[in-house]
């Protein structure tokens, strides 16, 4: 058992302050690349984003930085060995693809031209997830500068994928294919958030996700609602009936078997949730919403973190222009996503949905279901030494006690856990008001730099307190 010199706080902060401007300038360069994985028209941008990141990681000092092609969008892998054979090996996970964004969605400025306003950096991907990937580049350099090391105290690996916003369809295959390069003692997922700017927290779980598109076809073309209406099935009506039937009046999901086997919250977890300063009015403000609504019998935090959902992400069919058009539309479409919690199996739910849809549609309506992928839910083992190191590093950066949350969003954390057979931890500095997937997404610059600082302290603390390969 050995220890490494701890990076002194002042040295870390001084280094970060000196590098701040160049760091933000580089991040803005990356944010200008519209790496939208869901849109085939942006495929080359996703490749460009991967090349940009690999080049930058090499400039940061990583001896290895490679682009890993997949059947979809490319991932970036980088590696920086510690030189100490007993040091733990940590794999940082994030993603370089982003959600779609256009000015027409309500952005005040071009989503792919970063703008700094009032201590915030606005751009698609500023928080989800380029900012939170990028803080590790300055973090590791601050760690080295403050400790005088030439290599990190841990064996550091980065895996930054390119399809997270599309449900990571090729990520499990990539992990299986590259497992020998990805061997590690823990995964640090940098793709989550914390409670609030003044309440640093570590996330201990993420919901899973499976999402799909259901296309419904009725008449072969739009037909006159006077001449034919009331006597033939209408695919827009059937889309609405499917969407509506997904929830009962208690807003519980009606899919057969949907809740079977889910891991219910323990009393300890409920108590940890209850410690958080939750204010419904504040939360609604952050959610840009005007009331809460969800599964009966659960609090808002329980609904967000520990309960599965079915959500209509998009619905369309028929005339959408100005005024009216008295037609029975030829087709309609639903885009659905299901958030999953531990104990649920995405494949079973997909199967249940297929059966449920087929049984409910009347004769004369043809349908197709396309699943975009599945991401498993994930829970971190409480009390793991690496989780304690992470909590300490974050506490040093923020100068405050760190509490625990979960994350309602989804990431491929469970795949990493399953394929690599290691614990998964979450380090995120984004806050709910950052507007992930929404117009005017931003990151708080102060918090982004706290992320840099946490990253700078973490590698020391892990190497000093965690010895996964000694008995």
């Amino acid at each position: 058992m050995r220890t490494t010199p701890a990076a002194p706080d002042n040295a870390v902060r001084t280094y970060i302050e000196a590098q701040r401007s160049a760091f933000l300038s580089d991040l803005c360069d990356w944010l200008r690349i519209p790496s939208v994985s869901a849109d085939p028209g942006h495929a080359e941008d996703v490749h460009r984003s991967a090349r940009w990141l690999a080049d930058t990681l090499r400039e940061t000092g990583f001896p290895v930085a490679e682009i890993w092609e997949t059947a979809g969008a490319p991932a970036v892998f980088a590696e920086w060995p510690s030189g100490d054979p007993d040091a733990p090996t940590v794999l940082v996970y994030g993603h370089h693809d982003v959600q779609p964004a256009t000015l027409a969605d309500g952005w005040h400025t071009d989503p792919f031209e970063p703008v700094e306003r009032d201590g915030r950096l606005h751009a698609r991907g500023a928080a989800d997830d380029k900012g939170q990937v990028f803080f590790h580049t300055l973090g590791v350099r601050a760690h080295l500068a403050a400790t005088g090391r030439t290599a990190p105290a841990v064996n550091l690996k980065l895996l930054i994928e390119g399809e997270e916003e599309s449900g990571s369809p090729h990520f499990p295959a990539l992990l299986a294919q590259r497992a020998s390069r990805l061997g590690c003692d823990a995964v640090i997922v940098s793709d989550t958030g914390m409670w609030a700017p003044d309440t640093p927290t570590v996330c201990t779980g993420m919901r899973g996700l499976t999402d799909c598109q259901i296309d419904l076809y009725g008449p072969d073309q739009d037909i006159h609602s006077g001449s034919f209406g009331g006597a033939v099935p209408n695919p827009a009506t059937e889309a609405a009936r499917l969407a509506a039937a997904l929830h009962d009046d208690d807003r519980r999901v009606t899919l057969p078997g949907f809740y079977d086997g889910i891991v219910e919250l323990t009393d300890e977890e409920r108590a940890l949730f209850a410690e958080l300063p939750f204010d419904e009015a504040d939360w609604l403000h952050t959610a840009h919403s005007h009331a809460t609504l969800g599964e009966s019998g659960h609090t808002t935090l329980e609904r967000l973190w520990a309960r599965p959902t079915a959500e209509i992400n998009g619905i369309s069919g028929g005339y959408q222009g100005p005024g009216g058009k008295t037609i029975v539309p030829a087709k309609a479409q639903l885009k659905l996503s299901f958030r999953l919690v531990a104990g649920q199996d995405a494949e079973k739910i997909q199967h249940s949905l297929r059966d449920w849809v087929a049984e409910r549609l009347p004769a004369g309506i043809r349908h197709e279901i396309t699943f975009w992928g599945a991401t498993r839910p994930c829970l971190t083992p409480l009390g793991h030494p690496a989780l304690r190191s992470l909590t300490r590093a974050m506490g040093r950066a923020f100068g405050q006690p760190v509490r625990y949350t979960r994350e309602g969003g989804s990431g491929p954390a469970a795949d990493l856990q399953d394929v690599l057979d290691v614990p998964v931890l979450f380090l995120g500095i984004s806050v709910p008001s950052d507007g992930w997937h929404a117009p005017n997404e931003k990151v708080e610059l102060d918090l982004l730099l706290k992320g840099v600082e946490t990253s700078a302290y973490l590698w020391d603390d892990l190497a000093a307190h965690w010895h996964p390969r000694t008995a």
Copy 2:
């Protein structure tokens, strides 16, 4: 009581054949004007269409042809007195505006560049309703040429409105304002169809219509379905729940009071419907549909002609691009139309819908309802002498017995009946396969010319057999 010389069939046919080419060329000029009343971007085109028609009616010989402005789109009024003070006065009603149409809807050729193929003329408005208005221009000239008259045998008036496809919002006001010019003994509506090319029919009723748009607002912007989903109301879900709840499992409309007071079919009317050669497979082919579906306990013809409906003409909300986007959308929209039958009152139904929507939406969802207008249902008195004249004129043109139908579509016929206090008759030669409101709308040229011929015979027959102003 006096009689007028009947137009000999051969003379009428010879005249029509000689004029056919010029008639179709003129019609094509009119069809090239995209007079889409629902789209404010086409307002000038609707005006241009009105000017074109007024000019053409003057060239046809109408001594009076005026453009009547309204608070919306302009109507065209024309008048050609008989010269005989005892002649009946007939007002022909039609419309010069058309449904929206773009190539992207599935048209094989530009909807506003008419194309003749296989005896059909394809263009938006070819059947609904420019073709059916325009056949009267050649009809009246054939009537004059064949009888040697210099003025029609009846006092002929035309009122061709410009907002029928938008629900005729200003038509009742126009009728009230111009009532003194519109005085007549009967209205002939030229905006319906007949059973089939080989089964000429006269329509004896039309359904009414009221349609609207419901806008639903949830979060102030699209929000992340992982961070917030399951805990706030989703306007797309609520739009779907409204749309779905409009019908029960028997596909009866659930709006409170919707069926109150409707005029049920008589046994005689059921028997007249049953005489028609209805073949479900053929009808489905015409409907471009793959099964029938509608209110339990009624046949397809009853559902179309004598039962009211609620139809989803459009639904939209959230992401509609390629792939998925895991959001809770900020807003959603429904476009609904209700077909009404005799005994229903559009205002009561609008009121019922407003209450029903307001009661069903959860806190956190704001809504607006915009009604586009209301058109009352209409029934022609069976056994009226003018209906017998119309039936005879059509029988001469087609050389076949003429049967009776109703029309599932809607027109402002009931307003004419109410304001002018006269019977309303329907003369239409369009067939169900003409594709009203659909891509590739067409009119059968043979039937269009039968319409010309019917019009040429009708004025003689009315003048000879109907004397509304003698005791």
